[in-house]
C-alpha cells in the first residue's frame, strides 16, 4: 500500500498520455517496413500482378 499525492497521480496520467503518442511513430515505422517490402517486390517483379 502507498499514499500517492494528487500531484503525483496527475503527473502519471500526463506521462501515460504522452507515451501513447509513441504509437504514431511506431505505426509510421511499420508502414515504412511495408513500403520496403513492396519496393522489393516492384524491383523483382514489377507493377503487374
Amino acid at each position: 500500500m502507498n499514499e500517492m499525492t494528487d500531484e503525483d497521480a496527475r503527473a502519471e496520467i500526463e506521462r501515460d498520455r504522452r507515451r501513447e503518442r509513441r504509437v504514431v511513430w511506431q505505426a509510421a515505422l511499420a508502414l515504412g517496413v511495408v513500403l520496403a517490402f513492396v519496393a522489393v517486390r516492384l524491383l523483382l517483379v514489377g507493377w503487374g500482378v
Binding site: M1, N2, M4, E12, R17, V23, A27, V34
Partner: protein, 499 residues
C-alpha cells in the same frame, strides 16, 4: 438465346459469384489492418483527458475453486498493490473447494484483518458467473464498496495497475475499465509464446482501436473494474445464460450508455495454456460464447445508435471478421478454385491481388505489434514470424513473387515443373487457405495422442497458430448447431506466473 449463350451467361454469373467469394477472403486481414491503422490515433483520441486521480474503495472479488496452491500468494500481491491503505478489500469466493483453499484464505484473513474475506459457496461447480454473483451479492449488500474489481485467482496485477485503472472511473460516464493481460508463465513454451503475441495483437492493437471507436468488444475476464453504479445498473449480477459472461457484461454496460475503457498501461500477468488441447478447450468456450452472443444481439449489428457505438459499421466489421473467419476462408478457397476452373488467368490475378493486400496488412500489423510490447516480441520472435504458419507464409510469398515456387526454387535444383505440376501447386495453394483448418484440427489430435513438445512446436510452426484459432471457431459453429452441452471447464494452470 441459344444453348451456347445460356452456357456463356451461366459461366459469367458463376465467375462473378466466385470472384466475390474469393475477394471476401481478404476482409479479416483488411479489418485487422484497419484496427492497427486506428491504433496510433489513440495517441490523440483517448480517455486520459477525462481521467483524474481517483482512489475509490475497491472490493476485489476472486473466484476460487481449489486454488490453495496460488491463492495465498495472490492475496499477498494484492495487498502489496500501490493503492491507499484501507481502500482495498479482497473477497475470495470459494466455490466449494475440496483442497486447502478455505484454510489458506482464513489464515490470510487473520494476517490482514478486515481486508481479506472468505465467502464460501456450499454447492459449487455451476461456473464462474455463479461464483462471481455470490460475491457481488455480498459486496452490494454493504455500502462500503465504490468500485468492484473482478479477477482470476492466479493472475498477478503489477503494483501500479489498479490505480491506473481507477483513474478512468473519475469520469462518471465510464462504467468499466479493463487492463492489458500479458502472458506471464515462468516457464514458457511455443504455445504460451504464441498466446503472448496473440494478446499483443488482440489487446494492445485492437483494444486501442476500440477505445478510439468508442465500442469495446470484451472486458478481460481477469481484469475488469466496474463502478458501483455500473454493477447496480446491470442488475447487480453477471449473466449466467451464456459461455461469454464477460462479453455480455461489456455489451450491457455500453448498451446502457456507459463507456468501457481499455488502459494499456495497466498490466496484469496471467498464465495461459501450454498445450493445444487445453487451448482448444478454453477457446472453444470463448468462441461458443461469441456465437451465442451473435444470435442474442442480432438486432444490434450494423444499426447505428446515438446511445452506444456497438451498432456502428466499424464495430460490426470488427466483430464479424472474427466470428465469421472460417466462413471467409472457405469462401476464398471455393471462390478461387471455381474461378480457376472457369478462367485460370483471372484466378491468378485475383489471388495475387488479394494476397498482396493481405500480405501488406499482415506485415504492417506484425511490424507495429512487435513495437507495442518489445519484451514479449523478443521472447516470442519465432512465434511472431510463424504466426500464420510456414505454409500460409509460402502462400503469401507465392502471391508476392509469382513463379517463386513453380519456377525459381525448382530451377535452383535444376528442376522444371510440368504444366500439371503447376496446376496442382496452384490448386493446393488455393485450397490451403481453408484446408489449414483441418491441419490445425490435427494439431489437437496430435496433442491428444501425446506427441512430444518438439514435434508439436514443429507442427504448429508449419500449420500456424492463426489457423488453430480459426478451426476452433469452426468447431464452435458445429457444437452450437448440435446444441452440445455448455460446460464451464476450468483451464488447468500450474500457478507459476512471473511476479
Amino acid at each position: 438465346m441459344n444453348a451456347q449463350s445460356w452456357i456463356e451467361t451461366g459461366r459469367t454469373v458463376l465467375a462473378v459469384v466466385a470472384l466475390i467469394c474469393a475477394l471476401i477472403g481478404a476482409v479479416p486481414a483488411v479489418v485487422m489492418a484497419m484496427q492497427f491503422l486506428l491504433a496510433p490515433v489513440h495517441g490523440f483520441v483517448n480517455h486520459y483527458r477525462r481521467a483524474a486521480p481517483f482512489f475509490p474503495r475497491v472490493a476485489i472479488i476472486v473466484p476460487a475453486w481449489n486454488e490453495g496452491a496460488v491463492i495465498g500468494a495472490s492475496i499477498d500481491r494484492l495487498m502489496a498493490l500501490e493503492y491507499p491503505a484501507g481502500r482495498l478489500r479482497i473477497y475470495v469466493v470459494d466455490d466449494a473447494s475440496t483442497d486447502d483453499t478455505p484454510e489458506v484464505v482464513l489464515a490470510k484473513a487473520q494476517q490482514y484483518p478486515g481486508a481479506v474475506h472468505h465467502l464460501r459457496r456450499a454447492v459449487g461447480g455451476e461456473g464462474k458467473a455463479h461464483t462471481l454473483n455470490h460475491g457481488i451479492r455480498h459486496v452490494l449488500s454493504e455500502q462500503w464498496m465504490e468500485a468492484l474489481l473482478i479477477m482470476d485467482a492466479d493472475v498477478i496485477y503489477l503494483a501500479d495497475s489498479l490505480r491506473k485503472m481507477t483513474r478512468h472511473l473519475a469520469d462518471p460516464e465510464v462504467g468499466a475499465v479493463t487492463a492489458y493481460i500479458r502472458e506471464g508463465s515462468a516457464q514458457k513454451n511455443f504455445l504460451s509464446r504464441f498466446v503472448s503475441f496473440e494478446y499483443v495483437l488482440a489487446q494492445l492493437g485492437s483494444r486501442r482501436a476500440q477505445n478510439v471507436l468508442g465500442a469495446m468488444a470484451c472486458l478481460a475476464g481477469g481484469a475488469q473494474l466496474h463502478s458501483r453504479a455500473n454493477i447496480e445498473a446491470l442488475g447487480g449480477h453477471i449473466d449466467t445464460g451464456s459461455l461469454a459472461e464477460d462479453t455480455v457484461t461489456t455489451f450491457e454496460t455500453q448498451l446502457q450508455g456507459r463507456r468501457v475503457v481499455f488502459e494499456p498501461a495497466a498490466v496484469v500477468l496471467a498464465e495461459e495454456p501450454h498445450r493445444v488441447e487445453a487451448l482448444w478447450k478454453q477457446r472453444l468456450r470463448w468462441a461458443r460464447g461469441n456465437v451465442q452472443l451473435t444470435r442474442r444481439y442480432r438486432n444490434l449489428w450494423f444499426r447505428p445508435s446515438r446511445r452506444h457505438r456497438l451498432g456502428s459499421i466499424s464495430f460490426g466489421l470488427t466483430w464479424f471478421s472474427v466470428a465469421l473467419l472460417p466462413m471467409f476462408m472457405l469462401a476464398a478457397s471455393i471462390g478461387l478454385i471455381v474461378l480457376y476452373e472457369i478462367d485460370s488467368e483471372l484466378a491468378h490475378v485475383v489471388f495475387r491481388s488479394m494476397w498482396i493486400v493481405i500480405g501488406c496488412a499482415y506485415i504492417y500489423t506484425i511490424a507495429l505489434a512487435v513495437q507495442l510490447d518489445p519484451p514479449t516480441a523478443r521472447a516470442a520472435w519465432r512465434e511472431v514470424l510463424m504466426f500464420p504458419g510456414l505454409l500460409s507464409i509460402m502462400v503469401m510469398l507465392s502471391a508476392f513473387f509469382p513463379g517463386l515456387f513453380t519456377a525459381t526454387v525448382p530451377g535452383l535444383f535444376g528442376l522444371h515443373m510440368t504444366a500439371i505440376g503447376v496446376d496442382a501447386w496452384q490448386l493446393s495453394v488455393y485450397a490451403w487457405i481453408s484446408v489449414c483448418m483441418i491441419g490445425a484440427w490435427f494439431a489437437k489430435r496430435l496433442d491428444q495422442m501425446g506427441a512430444p513438445n518438439w514435434l508439436m512446436a514443429l507442427y504448429v510452426y508449419i500449420v500456424g497458430y492463426g489457423p488453430i484459432l480459426c478451426a476452433i471457431t469452426f468447431d464452435a459453429y458445429v457444437k452450437e448447431a448440435r446444441g452440445a452441452a455448455m460446460v464451464w471447464d476450468k483451464t488447468e494452470k500450474t500457478g507459476r506466473v512471473l511476479g
